[in-house]
């Protein structure tokens, strides 16, 4: 069934969009990432103009994150104060990112910047996560060698001023590192059109030392607000949010997210991280190949 999208001004198959939404929602529910880093390249791939793909992707991430965070709230796996601290940094970073995005658009190099940041960040995060999680899997599989987790990992973060107690996470740390992480992720989310969960989840585990149990819910909580901010900003500045496209993606996405969250619960956390790492690396390789391989058509057309 073909469907004409009013803002993208292309006609696409409705079931294809439902399917893309469903797959991305499934993964986002399972891994606790918003799924923006998947949905934006997939939309490019089926011929949605890049501006519309980025803006509408952000809107879809709002819906799938809400669907996911409510499931996490029921399990009491959301650290709201930590989420708010991350959000404060996130909004500041996002504002800066939107300014940089506008400068790059004026220079005509925004596609390159987006692709390069995809390759660099997905590559680094994917590799780090893969190596770490494989080590964890090996440790767990060794007879008698169950994962030993220290209650407190003291890092440089503990020496900074402005310490706050985060009860749900069981942390007593300075607010400066979470604000910095939030700002960095907010900046990337505006430039790359993603929620930033794939960077925030590892940052919360490895830099802040938060327990894996609350990381997914807390990152989803923060992502809702950053992507909501991004959606409205795009709607106002570039009129590029396609509500019809969003509705179809969301319909598939929210259902996928619920199924994904339940399957994610039944799987071991370290196995889940290996899978997420492989997925991140696959997207990185796909985007990287476009940069390196000779394109079939050297010219491209776009509207100014």
């Amino acid at each position: 069934m073909q469907f004409y999208l009013p803002i993208a001004e292309v006609s696409v198959n409705a079931f294809l969009l439902l399917g893309i939404g469903g797959i991305v929602g499934f993964l986002s529910g399972m891994f606790g990432v918003g799924g923006g880093f998947l949905i934006t390249p997939l939309l490019f791939f089926i011929g949605i103009p890049s501006g519309v793909a980025v803006a509408t992707g952000a809107n879809q991430v709002v819906a799938s994150s809400i669907s996911g965070v409510l499931a996490q709230f029921r399990r009491k796996a959301v650290d709201v104060p930590m989420g708010l601290v991350l959000l404060a940094g996130g909004l500041a970073g996002s504002g800066l990112g939107i300014w940089v995005f506008a400068r790059l658009t004026a220079l005509g190099q925004v596609d390159l910047a987006v692709q390069l940041s995809y390759v660099v960040f997905l590559g680094v995060v994917g590799l780090t996560m893969l190596l770490e999680s494989l080590r964890a899997v090996r440790r767990a599989n060794r007879p008698g060698g169950a994962t030993v987790r220290r209650a407190h990992i003291h890092t440089w973060a503990h020496r900074l001023p402005g310490k706050v107690k985060f009860r749900v996470s069981g942390l007593y740390i300075s607010v400066i590192p979470p604000i910095a992480i939030g700002a960095f992720v907010g900046f990337l989310s505006a430039v790359m059109g993603v929620g930033g969960g794939f960077i925030m989840v590892p940052a919360m585990i490895y830099l802040l030392g938060m327990p894996t149990k609350v990381v997914i819910g807390t990152s989803l909580f923060q992502i809702i607000f950053t992507t909501a901010f991004t959606t409205v900003m795009h709607a106002v500045t570039s009129h590029s949010v396609d509500l019809m496209l969003a509705v179809l993606l969301i319909l598939g996405g929210v259902i996928g997210a619920q199924i994904g969250a339940r399957i994610g619960l039944k799987m071991r956390a370290d196995h889940l991280r290996v899978l997420l790492a492989l997925l991140v690396l696959a997207v990185c390789a796909r985007v990287g190949a476009d940069l390196v391989l000779r394109p079939d058509e050297l010219y491209s057309l776009s509207r100014p």
């Binding site: 069934m1 073909q2 469907f3 004409y4 009013p6 803002i7 001004e9 292309v10 006609s11 809107n59 879809q60 709002v62 819906a63 799938s64 994150s65 809400i66 669907s67 409510l70 499931a71 029921r74 005509g108 190099q109 596609d111 390159l112 909501a228 959606t231 409205v232 900003m233 795009h234 709607a235 106002v236 009129h239 949010v241 396609d242 509500l243 019809m244 969003a246 509705v247 969301i250 319909l251 929210v254 259902i255 997210a257 619920q258 339940r262 476009d290 940069l291 390196v292 391989l293 000779r294 394109p295 058509e297 050297l298 010219y299 491209s300 057309l301 776009s302 509207r303 100014p304």
Partner: protein, 254 residues
Amino acid sequence: MLVRLALLALLALAAPAPAQDTAPERIVAGLSQSRVAITADFAGSKIMIYGAIAREAPAPDTGPMAVLVTVEGPGQKIVVRRKERHFGIWLNTANEVVQDVPSFYAAASTQTFGETLNLTDDLRHGITLNHLFSAEPGGENVAHVAAILRIRKNADHFRQVDYGVMLSEDTLFRADVDLPADLIEGDYLVRIFLTRDGTVVDSFERSIHVRKAGLERFFYRMAQDQPLRYGFLSLIVAVVAGWGASALFARLRW
């Protein structure tokens, strides 16, 4: 543009002036529809362009006659970018802005375009794809214009069909043009040319109004006119859908 004008002048000198004193032949034509509404399930539209050649005297014998039909979508400003390899990666380098590129163009003729149209009149009216829009003289622009033609032809947004117009009894003609599903809004210009021995003797113009309708129109206008409200509406849809699915699945408890 300069090149085109110079060529025109040159050809006008060389070619014999069209015979104006022959018995007039006029095109009388109609369209199967003059409005196209883009609704959510819009999947393209077929426009039938039909008509007849009206004559007050018997057909003149000033050479073989032909009918050419063109349909042209609204013009757009297009940025053409060329990729080049630098530091091992392919990046956009040479940018060129080309004004007034039709979003859609279809041309059809009763025989081949070479047989039915001479270069002078092709340049004057801009009928075949090669003379639809022109490159500035010199520089990279020529390659960029060629790229636009190539990309648009591959996407089936530019077409040129020999033998695409049916002509019977040298009087009645008909052409069917399929408009693609990814149309943009605007007025689509339909032109019909009658040629004798390659020279245009009469032409006829009509336009088709392509407009978004229903929900498509509502969302499009709101996104343009009330972007802030539209942005919040998008958010509300996302929140309701996300919360609704979560509540539904919680109730299902599986």
